[in-house]
């Protein structure tokens, strides 16, 4: 090795051309958000009112909280389809506790613990038994909501204490709701965890190559288990919020939330195949989803049409990033 030239210096990173920032997925989302915002403000005279903008945020905060954890899970190459069912089961358990005379702190604890427990159950099935998460969580989706239906039938739990209403109906300052504040704080925490910690780094690595991660001493099973627990936890928190906002529990509560949360994640630029994505994208996507559904609501579009819209959006956002990448790589064959 004596006759080899001195090793070349490799720079940390190259200066990226400005175009890569302009053509980033997040930039595209900002443009879309501004466009929809503009259209909405022309479509309805009520849209620009601070209070109606505040109402708008309730359209995405609960699903957005779930989407934050779901983003990490999807980046790691897994998925959880049972999140809405977890919301229903946690809400049902809170309802039962209310009948037994539980106070607000107990209710919140029950919501969170049930969510966490359901998430841990999913995580155990996936990591211990090595089952594919899509199958496991389709199963637990029916299981959790099934339990809620058995307990409630066509009844509804009501009579939540007045102080419990704060979580879904309260405001921290002026038009800023507790839900919005919680979502923004949670987004900051998730951003930090995903993009600034070694845990987040391992999540990305697992999504790209779980086998190489295992060989590299990354405890793949443990990290995936934690991610399922987090997703359950966020579903439990969402359950507290939605139950508090509605003031009642029916077994059909939060129906279809799993699709909306996944749509937010994918629209936010997270690869459905795992390994790539950003929290900023997911937050922007949550805002866009809120803007769109609220805009459609202002225009008196019926709920069934909205669900068609969500379905179409999900397909488009899964197809778009793939087409976008091909276009950028110049092999649009």
């Amino acid at each position: 090795m004596t006759d080899t030239p001195a090793p070349r210096h490799i720079p940390d990173r190259l200066d990226k051309p400005l175009s890569s920032a302009i053509f980033s997925w997040e930039a595209l989302l900002v443009i879309i958000a501004i466009a929809i915002f503009t259209v909405n403000s022309f479509a309805s005279p009520y849209f620009l009112d601070p209070w109606s903008l505040s109402d708008l945020t309730f359209n995405f905060t609960e699903k957005g909280l779930i989407a934050l954890a779901m983003a990490l899970l999807i980046i790691s190459g897994e998925i959880d389809l049972s999140v809405a069912a977890i919301v229903a089961l946690a809400s049902t358990m809170m309802g039962m506790a209310v009948q037994a005379g539980a106070g607000t702190p107990v209710l919140v604890a029950i919501g969170i613990v049930v969510g966490l427990g359901c998430g841990a159950f999913n995580g155990l099935l996936v990591t211990r038994l090595g089952l594919p998460s899509i199958v496991v969580t389709i199963g637990t989706m029916s299981l959790f909501r099934g339990i809620a239906f058995i307990i409630l039938g066509d009844q509804a739990y009501k009579g939540y204490p007045e102080s419990f209403a704060f979580f879904g109906q309260g405001y921290v300052w002026w038009v800023f709701s507790f839900e919005l504040a919680l979502f923004l704080v949670a987004a900051l925490i998730y951003w930090f965890v995903l993009h600034r910690t070694s845990f987040g780094r391992r999540v990305f690595a697992i999504g790209n190559n779980p086998v190489a991660c295992q060989f590299s001493g990354v405890r793949v099973g443990r990290i995936k288990f934690i991610l399922f627990c987090l997703t359950g936890l966020m579903s439990g928190i969402a359950s507290v919020l939605i139950t508090s906002r509605l003031g009642s529990t029916r077994p059909s509560i939060a129906q279809g939330y799993e699709l909306e949360a996944i749509t937010m994640v994918v629209l936010g630029g997270v690869s459905i195949l795992g390994g790539a994505g950003s929290i900023l994208g997911v937050v922007l996507a949550a805002f866009i989803m809120g803007l769109v559904t609220f805009g459609l609501g202002l225009l008196n579009v019926p709920g069934i049409v909205m669900s068609i819209f969500i379905g179409l959006l999900l397909i488009i956002v899964i197809a778009l990033p793939i087409l976008w990448r091909r276009l950028r790589e110049g092999r649009f064959a």
């Binding site: 070349r8 070694s198 780094r201 190559n209 001493g217």
Partner: protein, 519 residues
């Protein structure tokens, strides 16, 4: 032999043209250039392939060979340059178009379908149909058997799942596929990298057969003995440019090496003065239900212990057990006199044993992550504080190890997937060294990498043991085993067949022991 495949071949009327005859080229690439962001992969290169001849494409890792193969198979489009087939200018806008021109590639890590049968793999995309348009399974099986028969590979069951076949037989299936589509240009990208000596001989017979059928063959290999055995012509690439071509019989090995590296390589293996100390790692009675039995050996400080054996002798499985990746049924491992029982790779890394796996793509690199994140992956606990990443430390760690290994990359933030095989291997080795281990197990560390990178890896191994590390090197390459090891353990069928001091040890002894032939 009145088989379908045979008839197809006959209609082509191969002209038996030796290298001395100057036939017109079947495929000509001229003035080909291709750039990727930050990297100029190919600059104005040319290549000609002649019917009935084997052309060897030679170059270090990163010289642009893989890029050229991707251009020839329609996966990449060149930025400029011309492609002509049988003298007709053409383009290869897609893999399908290349396929249509009869261009087929057999890769080092075979890209076939593990869960399909041999027959399905051979005829995928051009299966015989019944009148209803459904797949004619019976004809397909019959044709598959015939094609395999023609290639003297009748021992392969056309109904077997591909995953149940060894790598050598998978290659045969890939060649059978090439035969079945009536391929006229066959590209072999390091086909011998994972084969045993006997399997390589079989492959060579097959290449001779392809030659006699008038196919134009491009043969990519790092092994000179193979190139001189099988190829007629050569083309040498260096740093994305063509630096020489001609007939092999007129060119010496040294001349080609000079073209490749641009300098003389005097000796491949570093000379070293081993300072061997006390035992570091000792293994006794290590057993696995199916893969290996009663394995015992000792590794001493500052030692390189070679593990030789045929493919399938259980060497990798033993190493993965020591590294905590596979479980064992019995046996004891101790490190520095302390018994250890690693239950995961994380445990053994913590203890100070690391395993650099053989399957670089599957087990080594995390494609999709940049170089520096690959290097820091097992060391994240050290490059972070209370779980919070410290990027500056990660870059420092990555830089110090990748530069020592002479990595060629435009930046440390480059996706490791955009690097050539040899450079990916450097990233993988850097990743493991960055954990500051006591024992490093290298499984086929120079498999499929060029002479320059090989020398870098060998030199680095010598440096490591000089610093007091202990190295286990699993290798199927005899020169590497003999050139690098202080002692050699030979494994056969899951057991330790013999352990030798590498003093006056000769290749024949090793081969005989590995194959179980009495002296």
């Amino acid at each position: 032999m009145d088989t379908t495949a045979q008839r197809k071949m006959e209609t082509e009327r191969p002209e038996p043209s030796g290298p001395s005859q100057s036939a017109s080229p079947r495929l000509t690439l001229s003035g080909i250039s291709k750039s990727f962001p930050g990297v100029r992969a190919l600059h104005n290169v040319s290549l000609s392939l002649y019917p009935g001849q084997v052309t060897a494409l030679i170059g270090e890792n990163g010289a642009g060979k893989s890029t050229l193969v991707k251009i020839m198979t329609g996966i990449y489009q060149p930025d400029s340059g011309e492609i002509s087939i049988d003298g007709q200018a053409t383009t290869l806008p897609s893999a399908h178009a290349a396929f249509g021109h009869g261009i087929t590639a057999i890769h080092q890590e075979t890209v076939l379908f593990d869960d399909l049968s041999v027959a399905e793999n051979i005829f995928l995309g051009h299966a015989p149909r019944t009148r209803l348009g459904t797949i004619d399974w019976r004809t397909m099986r019959k044709n598959a058997r015939e094609v395999l028969e023609t290639m003297r590979a009748g021992h392969i069951d056309a109904d077997a799942r591909l995953k149940d076949l060894g790598i050598a037989n998978k290659h045969l299936v890939a060649v059978a596929r090439a035969m079945s589509i009536d391929a006229r240009i066959v590209i072999m990208d390091e086909p011998t990298a994972a084969l045993s000596m006997k399997e390589i001989e079989e492959l060579f017979l097959l290449i001779e057969f392809l030659k006699s059928e008038g196919k134009a063959v491009l043969f990519i290999s790092h092994k000179f003995d193979e190139i001189y055995r099988i190829a007629d012509r050569y083309t040498v690439f260096r740093d994305g440019e063509m630096v020489g071509e001609g007939l092999l019989k007129d060119t010496s090995q040294n001349e080609i090496v000079r073209m490749m590296v641009g300098r003389n390589v005097d000796h491949i293996f570093p000379r070293r003065e081993p300072k061997i100390g006390a035992p570091v790692l000792s293994v006794s009675g290590l057993s696995h239900p199916t893969e290996f039995d009663d394995i015992g050996f000792e590794l001493r400080k500052g030692e390189i212990l070679g593990f030789y054996g045929l493919v399938g002798a259980g060497r990798s499985e033993v190493m993965q057990a020591i590294a905590g990746i596979t479980r064992t049924s019995r046996g004891a491992i101790s490190l520095d006199g302390q018994p250890i029982a690693p239950k995961s790779a994380a445990d053994s890394i913590e203890a100070g044993i690391v395993y650099v796996p053989e399957e670089r793509g599957k087990q080594g690199v995390v494609i999709g992550l940049p170089i520096f994140q690959n290097v820091s992956l097992p060391s994240l606990a050290r490059t972070s504080k209370s779980g919070v990443l410290k990027l500056a430390e990660e870059f420092t760690l990555a830089r110090s190890y990748t530069e020592r290994l002479d990595l060629r990359a435009s930046s440390l933030s480059q996706d490791v997937g955009t690097l050539s095989g040899g450079n990916q291997q450097k990233v993988v080795i850097a990743k493991w060294l960055a954990t500051a281990p006591k024992v490093i197990i290298l499984d086929e560390p120079t498999k499929g990498i060029d002479i320059g990178s090989k020398a870098a890896v060998h030199g680095f191994m010598a440096e490591l043991v000089a610093q007091g590390l202990s190295v286990i090197m699993v290798s199927s390459e005899l020169p590497e085993i003999l050139g690098m090891s202080d002692r050699v353990v030979v494994m056969r069928e899951g057991r330790v067949a013999a352990t030798y001091d590498n003093k006056g040890l000769d290749a024949e002894t090793l081969v005989r022991t590995a194959a179980g032939i009495a002296a």
